[in-house]
Amino acid sequence: MDPQSLLCYSDFEWWIKPTGQMRVPAIIYADKQLISGMDEKVREQLINVATLPGIQRAAYAMPDAHWGYGFPIGGVAAFDPNEGGVISAGGVGFDISCGVRALQTTLTANDLEAQKTDLAEALFRGVPAGVGSTGAIRLSEPEMDSMLSGGAQWAVGKGYGNPADLDRTEERGRAIGAQPECVSREAKKRQCEEMGTLGSGNHYLEVQRVVQIFDAVAAEAMELHENDILVSIHCGSRGLGHQVGTDYLKSMVIQGYRPIPDRELACAPIHSELGQHYLGAMRAATNCALANRQIITHLVRGAFHQVLPDVKLTLLYDVSHNTCKIEEHSVDGGLRELFVHRKGATRSLGPGHPDLPPPLQAVGQPVLIGGTMGTESYILAGTKQSEKLAFSSACHGAGRAMSRTQATHRWQGRQIIEELRNRGVLIRTRSIRGVAEEAPGAYKDVSAVAAAAEQAHLARRVARLVPVICVKG
């Protein structure tokens, strides 16, 4: 995207003023270089989102924004149901409630070194990953509905993890208002064998080492120190969420709100039967994602205990980045209940927010930014300014810089695995081609994205982590 085509409000805030059918401006938070690397489609899609009814303040793009379907990935938009506001399946994404969960261990990098290979094998054996993989858990129809209503709380009740895990999970691990009856039989069937599976593509399970602390106070509150070993889990609602997205995108295209500039923006008024059914199904899929990450946490703990029996793993935080949540935000001087879509964008609650667990009240919510298997990941903290800037939102990852086909032409999976091994990063995967498609060089610079998020005041950097072991789907 050409930065010249935007109004530069600051080095990190770029505007498209409302013209034509746009109801609000579009605002991109990024530096000039990141903007130059964005697809022109991001601009087009943001403008389209800004035309939707009931949209408040602006259509926002985060520093890692790239071309999505309907809404850009890295997009944030909030709608007021009392002003005809809509909900969009494409505005949430097919992988409903995809997110990142960070677990802290009692290990330092030195403690791990001798056991690294054994741990990599145990994790690879213990956590199903990749195309066609299945989990050990089979749910009957009533159990499936209980899981869809209960989320991570259901999983903990079944013995997958500890009640303390819920204190560090958004919404205490359960989306309220889920309606399993709004989830199709096909979606439930697709999930039958997929509980506790990681998936494929950019989903991963990583053991990471903290290599840099940016904010000592926030790091202390999060109990992060240099050389600490953490585990990061990136995955979502698996087949069930994908099918809910598929089912409701089709329904919204056929029966949804009209007129829209492009049918990829398919949506339904929040105050409509279709809108309410999607909300019920989306929340059920959110609970599926939360239960899935909770079960994987249990499997990770089991794998660690096989190799390192004395190590404890506690949850730092679990945050989703494909969501639509009801939140209270200030608009035109008054508080309003809005439906905030974040697609490839992370909630970034600032210090003092009542939804934060007490130990994090003073520093803000951990914003977990996934990198690539060869580069780095970041833990940021939410800021108070982020509420005014983008309904308390920040980036979610690096974003692809090239297609999967381009990546396979440039890199070979085995070569990448070898190069990373020489740098001390162990990769375990059933898909060599997947490793080539996910080559670190196929992604944008995650450090530039994290720095831009901080400079735009969406979140501030707390710690930088590098991978030690990566299980790829």
Binding site: Y69, G70, G90, G130, V131, S200, R263
Partner: protein, 121 residues
């Protein structure tokens, strides 16, 4: 692309599979039938691809050969393939769903049909 709508839809299905795995490595051990309908040809393409994604997901299978019979805006499709073998099939990534982004079904002046859309992976 194809010389008929049917052929373009079949080729779109091959392209979908090529995103997931090596199409040439898939043997035709088992056939299944799917039925789809939609208000127009473009949405029928999306429904067709989503039907294949669904069958791949629930059967843990990959399909390499596709045949369809079109009747207006509904179709009957036959998918032939086998159970996933990650190594032999050189699997890469699961398909989550076909979208309506860049969705187009059209015929050019030479009678060549185009069937395309973005698939989320």
């Amino acid at each position: 692309m194809g010389r008929s709508v049917e052929e373009a839809f079949e080729q779109a299905a091959v392209a979908l599979t090529a995103v997931v795995a090596d199409v040439n490595a898939i043997k035709q051990r088992e056939s299944i039938e799917v039925r789809c309908e939609a208000p127009d040809l473009e949405l029928l393409l999306v429904s067709w691809l989503n039907a294949i994604i669904y069958e791949m997901a629930v059967r843990k299978m990959l399909f390499g050969t596709f045949r369809i019979v079109l009747a207006g805006c509904s179709l009957t499709g036959t998918l032939a393939g086998e159970k996933v073998d990650p190594e032999r099939h050189r699997v890469a990534v699961e398909a989550k769903g076909a979208t309506v982004t860049e969705l187009k079904v059209s015929c050019d002046q030479d009678g060549q049909w185009l069937a395309q859309c973005v698939v989320d992976v």
